[in-house]
């Protein structure tokens, strides 16, 4: 009954987005595999998408959803290029983690 009385509000979604965003952030910070790091970026973008969609609904505004469409395209492009770069670099240094790629510093 308690559950039935409750209704989800935008805040729930926003909070979920925030958590997801944070997980993505932390993931990028702690994972060494560049591919997984890229996935973490995707998590962050998804968190944003979730936020946009929730807000669009709350504001009764479709443009929030339109934005998500663009984010999807950007994410796709990023992944393509990012994977290209990772491929290019891992071909030269097979099995390298992000920590191994530190020729330049200081």
């Amino acid at each position: 009954m308690m559950v039935a009385a409750l209704h989800t509000t935008a805040s729930w979604y926003l909070a979920l987005g925030a958590v997801l965003f944070t997980i993505g952030t932390v993931g990028l910070l702690v994972r060494r595999n560049p591919l997984v790091m890229l996935m973490c970026v995707e998590l962050m973008l998804n968190a944003v998408n979730l936020t946009f969609v929730a807000l669009a609904r709350h504001l009764n505004d479709v443009s929030g959803q339109t934005v998500v469409f663009f984010v999807l395209v950007v994410a796709a492009a990023e992944v393509v290029v990012g994977l290209g770069i990772i491929v290019a670099i891992l071909r030269r240094k097979p099995g390298a983690t992000a920590d191994d790629i530190a020729l330049m510093k200081g």
């Binding site: 952030t25 990028l28 060494r32 992000a98 920590d99 530190a102 330049m104 510093k105 200081g106």
Partner: protein, 627 residues
């Protein structure tokens, strides 16, 4: 004739310029003759001016002649001008007179020196400066001369510059003098700020409007300058060392003329001194103490010129004693007579040095009177004059000083009397060691073993003239009647009622004069006993030879704490100030090196940086929220 007063300094200046331009071409001896001629010319002009002044009534004997504006700025107007009055012309006369003789002497003395013309270059420049000092119509022109003579003194002491001692002595002389000059400068500033002018006419005319403290300050500061120039305690230390210069220089600069500039200055500003009685006392005490102090030092010197140097200091002390006692005329009188006999003795000493092939140690002289008769006779005349034996010139002037010293304070008189005794003693010692006794100059230490010889006529002529003057010089101001006090009357416009008048009657005067004479004779007698008869062992303690260690103490101070404090400042500059600058650079670099470590090259570290930055920004913005 008064309108050409500028010629007096201009002639030596012209000589200077000519020798500067053509000195090498002129060569020896023409450069010397030229120099002598210019100074002689100045003497003639001075004499002309003197007679011109003499022909005027007493209150018109003060003429200012301005050449051009020198430093005119705002309320400060300093002209390059000359003041011809009895005092300055007196000075000019004996400066040029004695100067001309010494120039003449030097033509002979400097014979063969590689830098013959340069010597006369400096000498002429000196004569010019000295005349500027004397004739300047304001403190600044006097200061110009004052520094000029100091500079020439520097050049001439260091004339034989390859000797390290000469070089050191020259520098010491200049720097020591500068200490005094500092006082002179401050005195000028104070004068101007109080009176608004530096001209003697204005300043001295308004002297009575000065407050007591200002007048005292000016007087003491000027006296500090005088102490430097006239080698009084505590700034006397340069003069004995200055004997490194050629002997004509010692005679001209360090005996007859330049060193008396201090006395001249004090006389010149006597209206200010009159407003500062305390300063007068200080001057008298310093003079008396210096006189005694230097006389004790002279007792134990073995260098023929150093004896004379200490003697000069001592005699200058007398003059300041006179100034301090208000006996300005006596000071001037003694200055003139001293110029005669001290120049004479220096030149005589020079003749001896010349004749003994540059020997200066009296212990290696003796019995020279037969080999150098003219030198010996003239030197003896000088000796008698300085010893205060009547009727030689020194007797009269010294007597007059002692007379006034008694009025100032019997203690000062007593010091003067003891000094007179010592003076007679050490001068006799010198005469005996040089001209009498055994000949000590032929020993094995002298490889040449050449016999001493008499100097050429060109050197002897000045000796003879000066000897004559030393004999009759006292005639300038014989104390018998007011009409015989020529100098008193002549200088009356300068000193007016500020001149001290002796409180003694004729009887008292005679008594004092006899006492002084007896003191002089006693000194001679003791010396005779010690140095000729050898009855008594000579009293020449090391401490006196080292002048009570004053010079050593100064050196110890300058070389010790002085040098250390300078080094400390230099260290401070290098380490602290420059260190701070370089430290700032090092901090920047250090910060860079430190921050570099954050730039690890690891992309995850970078991402962490971004995340932390994002958190910080979020924190700031959230904190700004309107809740």
């Amino acid at each position: 004739m008064l309108s050409v007063v500028w010629l007096i300094p201009a002639l030596p200046l012209a000589g200077f310029v000519l020798i500067l331009l053509f000195g090498r071409r002129l060569g020896e001896p023409r450069a010397g003759w030229l120099a002598t001629a210019t100074v002689t010319g100045s003497f003639v002009v001075s004499a002309g001016v003197f007679f011109d002044l003499l022909s005027r009534s007493a209150d018109e004997r003060q003429v200012v002649h301005t050449l051009f504006q020198w430093v005119p700025v705002g309320g400060l107007r300093v002209d390059l001008g000359f003041l011809a009055d009895p005092l300055s012309i007196t000075m000019a006369l004996f400066v040029t007179g004695v100067g001309a003789l010494i120039h003449l002497y030097a033509v002979g003395y400097m014979h063969g020196d590689a830098n013959f013309s340069k010597f006369f270059l400096y000498m002429n420049l000196f004569a010019f400066s000295m005349l500027m000092l004397v004739l300047g119509d304001n403190l600044l022109v006097t200061f110009l001369g004052w520094e000029g003579v100091g500079t020439c003194s520097y050049f001439l002491i260091a004339f034989w510059f390859t000797r390290d001692t000469a070089a050191r002595a020259a520098k010491k002389a200049f720097v020591t003098n500068r200490v005094g000059d500092w006082g002179f400068m401050i005195a000028m500033f104070l004068t101007w700020s109080a009176v608004g002018s530096l001209n003697y006419v204005d300043v001295l005319g308004k002297a009575d409007s000065l407050s007591h403290s200002t007048a005292t300050a000016i007087a003491l500061l000027l006296f500090l300058g005088a102490c430097g120039k006239s080698a009084q305690l505590p700034l006397y230390v340069w003069l004995p060392d200055a004997m490194e210069g050629p002997t004509p220089v010692s005679a001209l600069i360090h005996a007859a003329t330049m060193v008396t500039a201090g006395v001249y200055l004090m006389c010149r500003v006597n209206p200010i001194l009159a407003e500062a009685k305390g300063a007068l006392t200080v001057i008298a005490i310093v003079g008396a103490v210096t006189a005694l102090f230097a006389a004790t030092c002279a007792v134990a010197q073995n260098d023929i010129k150093r004896v004379l140097a200490y003697s000069t200091i001592s005699q200058l002390g007398y003059m300041f004693l006179a100034v301090g006692s208000g006996a300005y005329v006596a000071a001037v009188f003694h200055m003139v007579t001293h110029a005669f006999f001290k120049a004479l003795m220096f030149l005589g000493a020079g003749s001896v040095i010349h004749g003994t092939h540059d020997e200066q140690d009296m212990r290696r002289m003796g019995a020279l009177r037969k080999l150098m008769p003219v030198t010996a006779v003239t030197f003896i005349i000088g000796w008698l004059a300085i010893a205060g034996v009547p009727p030689f010139a020194g007797f009269w002037s010294k007597d007059e000083i002692l007379l006034h010293a008694w009025d100032k304070s019997p203690a000062l008189w007593a010091i003067g009397l003891v000094t007179a005794l010592l003076t007679a003693y050490y001068m006799s010692r010198q005469v005996f060691m040089v001209f009498y006794g055994d000949a000590r100059w032929g020993d094995e230490n002298r490889p040449h073993g050449e016999k001493p010889h008499e100097s050429p006529w060109i050197m002897l002529t000045p000796l003879v003239v000066l000897a004559g003057l030393s004999i009759v010089g006292g005639g300038l101001n014989l104390p018998f009647t007011s009409s015989t006090k020529l100098l008193d009357r002549w200088l009356e416009p300068v000193f007016g009622d500020r001149l001290a008048v002796s409180s003694f009657g004729p009887g008292g005067k005679w008594a004092l004069a006899i006492l002084a004479t007896l003191a002089g004779l006693a000194g001679i007698a003791v010396a005779y006993a010690v140095y000729l008869r050898k009855r008594v062992k000579a009293f020449e303690p090391e401490i006196l030879a080292r002048a009570w260690g004053v010079d050593d103490a100064y050196s110890a101070f300058v070389g010790g704490p002085g040098r250390r404090s300078f080094l400390a400042v230099e260290w401070f500059d290098r380490t602290i100030i420059d260190g701070a600058v370089n430290g700032a650079g090092a901090i920047a670099k250090g910060a860079g090196t430190g921050l570099r470590r954050l730039q690890t090259g690891y992309v995850r570290n970078y991402a962490l940086g971004i995340a932390v930055g994002a958190v910080a920004l979020l924190a700031w913005f959230i904190s700004r929220g309107a809740w």
